[in-house]
């Protein structure tokens, strides 16, 4: 009798353990499957690049699909700080970005900063008057190889097929590992309930709760409706911001990139930013 009971307990225990761990096992085995199908697509165009390794440094492999990008033409912003503020204010309004007047807890999606802060890897010794006197527009770079996505333990931040690095505010556990991973300081954390700090509530976009990370989303919700990013729309008449598909050779943004000399932030880190600057 005792032996049977022991046997029963063993089987019951094993079954319970299997039942508890099954979801994790299924998840674990299924997610590499998704990842590998993605990788399969990636290796599809990496393989030929491997085949002829003599491709000169800096030349990218043939792109596939849509990759949204943005060009900031700083020449149009020089001497017009009010234009920068207009773009920033438009974003804050559309996305219910709380205005917390405290450097420790502030939330920033799109903001402005001096050249030496935005481009710390570029020399700022003997920089021109224009560089010294003007602030530069800063936002998430929506990297092609985003470190924030790599480090997130819950896939609360992820890369969409169109290149946008997006956030799931409901899955984020607030570990802030993505803020450590981001080399551009593009991410903000809700150190307290942000809702009292929202000046004018926009019901078309969710407000956030405390304890989650947020950042610029390239206006993914507006693009889905066929609209342009809010910052672009706010300064549309100046033509200072150009948005479009980096992989489409005929797009407006490619035209600008082909013609103008642009730079990216911290290119040496291999994150492949999708935001370009004309300075």
């Amino acid at each position: 009798m005792d032996k049977q009971r022991r046997k029963f307990l063993k089987v019951a225990g094993a079954t319970a353990l299997a039942g508890i761990s099954a979801p994790a096992v299924v998840k674990l085995t299924s997610s590499p499957a998704i990842a590998s199908s993605e990788h399969g697509a990636a290796t599809g165009h990496e393989a030929p690049a491997d085949a002829h390794k003599a491709v000169p440094h800096g030349v990218e492999e043939a792109p596939k699909g849509v990759r949204l990008g943005l060009v900031v033409d700083m020449r149009k912003f020089y001497g017009k700080p009010e234009l920068l503020d207009k773009a920033i204010a438009a974003c804050n309004k559309v996305h219910n970005v709380p205005q917390i007047d405290n450097k420790k807890s502030e939330i920033k999606w799109v903001w402005k900063a001096p050249f030496e802060n935005v481009f710390p890897e570029h020399s700022s010794s003997h920089s021109s008057k224009i560089r010294k006197e003007n602030d530069f527009l800063v936002m998430c770079n929506h990297c092609d190889e985003p470190p924030c996505v790599r480090v997130c333990p819950t896939q609360a931040t992820y890369r969409l097929p169109n290149g946008i690095v997006a956030m799931d505010f409901h899955r984020c556990i607030g570990c802030r590992f993505c803020m450590m991973g981001c080399p551009y300081g593009a991410r903000s954390f809700n150190w307290e309930n942000p809702r009292p700090y929202i000046k004018e509530y926009n019901p078309d976009f969710p407000s956030r709760m405390r304890g989650v990370v947020e950042k610029c989303n390239f206006c993914g919700e507006r693009i889905a409706l066929g609209k342009e990013p809010a910052c672009l729309e706010a300064v549309k008449e100046s033509g200072a911001i150009v948005f479009g598909d980096l992989n489409d050779p005929g797009s407006e943004i490619r035209e600008v990139l082909d013609k103008e000399n642009t730079i990216q932030r911290k290119p040496s880190l291999g994150t492949k930013p999708s935001v370009f600057y004309i300075v």
Binding site: P32, S105, G174, M179, M180, Y184, G185, G211
Partner: protein, 391 residues
């Protein structure tokens, strides 16, 4: 065996009451933080990891440090450590419990913690850290409990438990390696982006863990009539010396790479930690006294041990002081300097200094007190079982 924690002399109960007071304060502080948010801490947008994560990092090392007892005994059959391995395992259990508590204190949405398991993400080092920490916790619980039970019944431990004992050895190395990988794989964080981070973590762990065990042994010799033996203590101090020296060597290598290459990003954190970092006419140096204390305590402790080894004298008091010095030195180095030094320059090259708030310190002390409480209870069981067997 659990009933042993309910019997003790008045000193035992006073010690528990003393720790419980800190636990209570920590709990109240945590409730405040839970209701308001992490804004109650000194962390902010530019410096978004602070005391909690740095304590977590240090305590993973303390947990891994138990390896320095388990490995000589089970692999090299070094019998002198026979009475101590259980202490190493119990210390590992409480250190990991503290680690998990610090993680829970640090995350913004603690109720969503299970998302780590519901959405397992193999490309995140935090996921793997959870896996190895929970694994190491489980292994230590199994090994410690089964072996102690066998000792109490005065029979040999069952053979199958040795599988878990041997498995716990690579796990001990892995917990601290993966914890180092949380830091050393991040682009744009120059101070952490160093392949030597993991070996440095291990070296400091193999000094800090045993140092704490030696102190515990010396205390228990006085209050609980538990003698680890002179030879065991002497051998442990040798291990501590080597590990602390290797850690110091690794730190000096970081200095060489930073200063000889003269790359600003590689120098900034070291400058901030040891000399003060000048930026736009302001000098940021709030950690300088702590880091130099760390250097002095480390070499002071090493000198003390060296003197005792050469003169062949070993008094409990001085061994205890030496261990306390080295433990404190390594805590300052890893439990403060490593995390905060790496964050002082933000990605936009602004300098932000970190000052923890009182509420944050309260939670931190509360978690440390919880850990000491757990260690006390578990060591009480181990020592009482030992006495029972002897009697």
């Amino acid at each position: 065996m659990i009933e042993k924690v309910f019997k003790g002399n008045s000193r035992y109960w006073m010690w528990l009451a003393f720790l419980s007071a800190f636990v209570a304060v920590g709990a109240i502080c945590y409730i405040r933080q839970y209701l308001f948010g992490l804004g109650l801490t000194g962390m902010g947008r530019d410096l978004s990891w602070g005391l909690y994560i740095s304590q977590f990092t240090f305590l993973v090392g303390v947990a891994a440090g138990g390896l320095m007892l388990v490995l000589p005994y089970y692999i090299h059959n070094y019998k002198v450590f026979g009475r101590l391995t259980i202490l190493g395992e119990f210390l590992a259990i409480s250190a990991i419990v503290m680690c998990l508590m610090f993680i829970m204190a640090d995350i913004g949405q603690p109720l969503r913690g299970l998302n780590m398991m519901l959405h397992p993400t193999p490309n995140s080092m935090l996921f793997w850290d959870m896996v190895v920490l929970l694994g190491y916790l489980g292994l230590n619980v199994i090994c410690a409990w089964v072996i102690l039970t066998a000792e109490r019944k005065q029979v040999k431990p069952p053979k199958w438990v040795y599988f878990f004992v041997y498995l716990s050895i690579p796990f001990a190395v892995s917990i601290h390696t993966v914890t180092a990988m949380l830091y050393c794989g991040l682009p744009g964080r120059h101070f952490w982006l160093s392949a030597i981070t993991a070996p440095r973590f291990l070296a400091s762990a193999f000094a800090a863990g045993p140092a704490l065990i030696v102190i515990a042994c010396l205390v228990m010799k006085r209050v609980a009539n538990f003698d680890a033996g002179k030879e065991a203590i002497s051998k442990l101090t040798t291990i501590i010396m080597y590990a602390a020296l290797i850690n110091a060597f690794f730190v000096l290598l970081e200095f060489f790479v930073g200063y000889y290459s003269n790359i600003p990003g590689h120098k900034h954190s070291l400058e901030y930690l040891f000399f003060g970092l000048e930026h736009h006419g302001v000098v940021y140096n709030n950690l300088v006294p702590f880091m130099w204390s760390s250097v002095l305590l480390c070499f002071g402790g090493l000198g003390l041990f060296a003197y005792m080894k050469i003169k062949k004298v070993q008094t409990d008091l001085w061994v205890g002081i030496g261990c306390a010095m080295i433990f404190t030195a390594l805590w300052l180095d890893k439990g403060l300097g490593f995390v905060l030094g790496g964050l002082v320059v933000n990605p936009l090259h602004e300098i932000v200094e970190y000052y923890p708030t009182a509420n944050e310190v309260g939670i931190t002390l509360g978690i440390w007190a919880t850990g000491f409480l757990l260690v006390t209870l578990m060591y009480k069981i181990a020592v009482d079982v030992e006495h029972e067997v002897e009697a």
